[in-house]
C-alpha cells in the first residue's frame, strides 16, 4: 500500500486532519473505522525492522521500530481503536472523533518509538488527546476531573523527559532499550512509566477519571494509556525484580475497593488496575514465557475490558446511570447486552474456553515455576477477587439481582455489533489460542488445556461462586448503596487542600495581626500629631501667620546649610 512505510501513527494524524473537512455524519464515522483497519494492515504486512528514521536537533529518531513485541501491541491497539470507534458510531461530536484518532495514533506511535525522545512526544500526545474524551462530557465535574487527570498525565511526561535528559548525559544515547534501575535517570523513567501504569499509590487518576468520561470515551480510554505503560515497562524494565512485588500489590488492593464501589464504571477501573498487576508481575519475572504472558494478557485484556465497559456503557446510554444501586433486572429488555457482558465477565474471570484463561495461566505458571510461592498465592487469590467484582458483580447487579423496574430498550445496533465482535474474539482466543500465541514476542511452549489447569481453575471459580451464593443467601454480602469510597486521591483532593487552606489562614491571620499592630502605632502617631498640629492643637493656638513665618525661617535655614555644604 505504502512503498516507503509511513509511521503508522501518521495515518491516524492525517485522518484527524482530514476528518473536520468531511461532511458531518456517515463519512466521518466510516473514516474512523477505515483508519484502524488500514493501520492494522500496514503493521501486519511490514517486515520486522526499523523504518522512518529522521534527524531532529542533532538526534536520530526512530519513528517506526517494528519487532515482535511492538507489533503485537500495535495490532491490538488498532483492533481496539476499530472496536471503540464502531461502538461510538452514533457520536457526531467532532472533538471526540478527532481526539479518538489522535489518542490511538499517539499510543501506536509510542509503541513503535525506537528512541526515548519520540516516546516522550507520543507519551504527552496520549495525555493531551485523551483528556478531551473526559471533557466531552461537558459538565463542571468533568472539567475538574479532566484537569486532575491532565496534571498527572502531563506530570508523568515531564518526569519522563527529565529522566531522558539525565540518561542522555550519562550514556550519550537516547535509544529506548532495556534499562537497569540504579541511577536517578532510570528511576525517573521508571516512575514516569509507573504513573501511567497506575502503580499502587500512583493509581488513583485511573479510578477518578475513567468513570467521568463519555459513554464511548471510557471504552476508548480503557485500551491505550495503561497498556502503553505496560508495553514501555516490558520494553525498558523486563526482569526488574521490584516489579514482581509492585504487580502483586496491584492485583490485590483494587479487589477490595472494587467490591464495595457503586459506580460500575469505577468498579471496572479498579478491575483494570488489578489486571495490570498480573501483567506487571509478568514483566518483573522477565523470562521469555512471562513476557509472552504479559503481552498476550494485555491483548486479551484490552478486548474483554472493552467489552465490559461497552456493556455497562450501553446500560448508561439507555438508562442514564451506571450505578449498581440503581440497576438490576435489565436482562428482560437488554438480553443481548447481558449475554455479551457475561462473555466479558467469563473472559476476565479466566473461565476455561474464554480468553483470560489462556493468557493469565502463562503468568501464573511462570510465577510458580520461578518459585515465588507468596506471589503465586496472591495471584490465585486475586483471580478469585476478579471473579467477585468483574465476574459476578458487574453482570449480576446490572442485569439480574433485584428488579429495578427499569425497562430500557436493547443497545443500538452498532453497539451490539461492537460488543458481538469483541465477544466473539474473547471466545475465539479462549478456544483456539494458537494464532495469538504465534504473535507473541517469543516462541510459546505452553498448553493451557491440561487436566490440572482446567480442573484447578474451575474449582477455584466454582467454589468462589458457591461462596458468593452462600453469602447472598445469608445476607452477609454487602449491599449496593449510593455512596463513594475514599481512596488515596483523598490526599490531594481533600487533605492537601485542607492543609493548604489552614496554612493560608494561619499566615493571613498572622499578617493581619501584624498589620493591625503597626496600624495602631501609625494611628497613635497621627492622632498625636493631630492633637498638636490639628485645628484644635496647641500649635494652632498661636497665630497661623506667626507659624508660617517660623516655618519659612526653618526652610530658609535648611536651604542655606544645604547650598553651603554642596
Amino acid at each position: 500500500m505504502l512503498t516507503d512505510p509511513w509511521p503508522t501513527a501518521f495515518l491516524f494524524f492525517a485522518a484527524a486532519a482530514v476528518l473536520p473537512l468531511l461532511p458531518k455524519g456517515l463519512l466521518r464515522a466510516l473514516l474512523l473505522l477505515v483508519v484502524p483497519l488500514a493501520a492494522a494492515w500496514q503493521i501486519w504486512t511490514l517486515d520486522l525492522g526499523t523504518f522512518a528514521q529522521v534527524e531532529f536537533i542533532g538526534f536520530q529518531l526512530d519513528l517506526m521500530r517494528v519487532d515482535k513485541l511492538s507489533r503485537v501491541f500495535g495490532l491490538i491497539f488498532c483492533l481496539a481503536a476499530f472496536l471503540g470507534n464502531l461502538y461510538a458510531w452514533h457520536v457526531r461530536d467532532p472533538v471526540q472523533q478527532v481526539a479518538a484518532l489522535l489518542y490511538a495514533g499517539s499510543a501506536i506511535g509510542a509503541v513503535f518509538a525506537g528512541d526515548l525522545i519520540t516516546l516522550f512526544f507520543y507519551w504527552e500526545g496520549t495525555a493531551i488527546a485523551s483528556v478531551f474524551l473526559i471533557w466531552a462530557r461537558g459538565t463542571k465535574a468533568a472539567y475538574h476531573t479532566g484537569m486532575r487527570y491532565l496534571i498527572i498525565q502531563i506530570g508523568s511526561g515531564v518526569i519522563l523527559l527529565a529522566g531522558v535528559v539525565l540518561l542522555y548525559r550519562e550514556t550519550g544515547s537516547i535509544a529506548f532499550e532495556r534499562m537497569t534501575l540504579g541511577s536517578v535517570a532510570t528511576w525517573l523513567i521508571f516512575i514516569s512509566f509507573g504513573i501511567k501504569c497506575a502503580f499502587p499509590l500512583l493509581h488513583n487518576w485511573l479510578q477518578d477519571s475513567y468513570p467521568a468520561a463519555t459513554v464511548t470515551g471510557t471504552v476508548i480510554l480503557s485500551a491505550f494509556t495503561t497498556k502503553l505503560a505496560v508495553y514501555a515497562l516490558a520494553r525498558g524494565f523486563a526482569g526488574t525484580e521490584i516489579l514482581i512485588y509492585i504487580g502483586t500489590i496491584m492485583t490485590l488492593f483494587p479487589i477490595f475497593f472494587a467490591e464495595i464501589e457503586n459506580d460500575l464504571r469505577r468498579v471496572l477501573a479498579y478491575s483494570l488496575n488489578n489486571q495490570l498487576g498480573f501483567m506487571v508481575v509478568g514483566i518483573g519475572i522477565g523470562t521469555e514465557m512471562a513476557l509472552n504472558g504479559t503481552a498476550s494478557h494485555a491483548f486479551a485484556h484490552i478486548l474483554y475490558k472493552a467489552l465490559l465497559f461497552m456493556s455497562v456503557g450501553a446500560v448508561l446510554y439507555r438508562t442514564g446511570t451506571s450505578k449498581a444501586s440503581e440497576l438490576g433486572g435489565l436482562y428482560r429488555t437488554m438480553p443481548l447486552t447481558a449475554m455479551f457482558c457475561l462473555v466479558g465477565a467469563a473472559s476476565i474471570s479466566a473461565f476455561p474456553l474464554f480468553s483470560g484463561f489462556v493468557t493469565k495461566s502463562l503468568i501464573l505458571d511462570e510465577a510458580g515455576a520461578g518459585h515465588h510461592p507468596y506471589v503465586w498465592a496472591a495471584l490465585v487469590f486475586a483471580s478469585a477477587g476478579v471473579l467477585s467484582h468483574s465476574g459476578i458483580k458487574i453482570p449480576y447487579f446490572t442485569f439480574f439481582a433485584h428488579d429495578s423496574g427499569k425497562r430500557p430498550a436493547e443497545a443500538p445496533t452498532h453497539m451490539l455489533w461492537a460488543m458481538g465482535i469483541t465477544a466473539f474474539l474473547c471466545i475465539a482466543i479462549g478456544v483456539y489460542p494458537d494464532p495469538l500465541y504465534a504473535l507473541l514476542p517469543y516462541p510459546v511452549e505452553f498448553h493451557p488445556y491440561t487436566m490440572g489447569h482446567v480442573v484447578g481453575q474451575l474449582q477455584l471459580l466454582c467454589f468462589a461462586l458457591l461462596a458468593f451464593g452462600v453469602l447472598m443467601r445469608t445476607g452477609i454480602h454487602p449491599p449496593e448503596i449510593r455512596a463513594i469510597n475514599l481512596d488515596t486521591d483523598w490526599t490531594y483532593r481533600r487533605f492537601m487542600p485542607a492543609v493548604v487552606t489552614r496554612v493560608a489562614d494561619a499566615v493571613s491571620q498572622f499578617w493581619s495581626a501584624k498589620m493591625r499592630f503597626w496600624l495602631r502605632r501609625v494611628e497613635a502617631v497621627v492622632g498625636r500629631l493631630f492633637q498638636v498640629y490639628g485645628p484644635e492643637g496647641r500649635v494652632a493656638q498661636s497665630s497661623p501667620t506667626g507659624a508660617m513665618v517660623l516655618w519659612i525661617a526653618v526652610f530658609l535655614g535648611v536651604t542655606l546649610i544645604v547650598s553651603f555644604l554642596s
Binding site: 474451575l458 474449582q459 453469602l471
Partner: protein, 116 residues
C-alpha cells in the same frame, strides 16, 4: 405471577423471555444447588488424575476449591469492613466530581423498551 403479567412478558425479546426463568420462585435455589453439585463433582475429579503443580500444596485434593471458597469469603468480609472506614456520601467531593451529578441527558438515548 400477577406481577409478571403486569410487565407483559409476552412483549419482551425472546431471549429476555427465556431468561425470565431465573426470577421464578425456586429457581435461585435450583441454581445454587446445581452449583454445589458441580463443585462436588470437581472435587471428586481431583482424585482421577495425577496432579503435579509447582508447589506441594497444589497436589492436595480440592486445594483450589477450598482456597477459592475461603479467600472469596475473606475478601468479601474484609471489603465490608473496609467500607465502614472509607464510605462517604456521594456528594463528598462536591461539584468537582461526577459522583453526584446526572449524566448529561443530551448525550444519551434513553429509549424505553415498551411503554408498559
Amino acid at each position: 405471577m400477577g406481577e409478571h403479567k403486569r410487565k407483559k412478558p409476552e412483549h419482551l425479546p425472546a431471549l429476555g423471555r427465556l431468561l425470565l426463568w431465573v426470577d421464578r420462585p425456586g429457581s435461585a435455589n435450583k441454581i445454587f444447588w446445581a452449583l454445589a453439585v458441580v463443585c462436588a463433582l470437581l472435587f471428586v475429579l481431583d482424585f482421577t488424575y495425577d496432579k503435579h503443580g509447582h508447589f506441594h500444596i497444589e497436589e492436595l485434593p480440592g486445594f483450589y476449591g477450598v482456597y477459592g471458597f475461603v479467600m472469596f469469603t475473606a475478601l468479601i468480609l474484609a471489603a465490608k469492613t473496609l467500607r465502614i472506614f472509607i464510605k462517604r456520601p456521594e456528594d463528598y467531593y462536591g461539584d468537582r466530581a461526577v459522583d453526584s451529578e446526572e449524566y448529561p441527558a443530551d448525550q444519551l438515548d434513553k429509549e424505553r423498551y415498551h411503554a408498559d
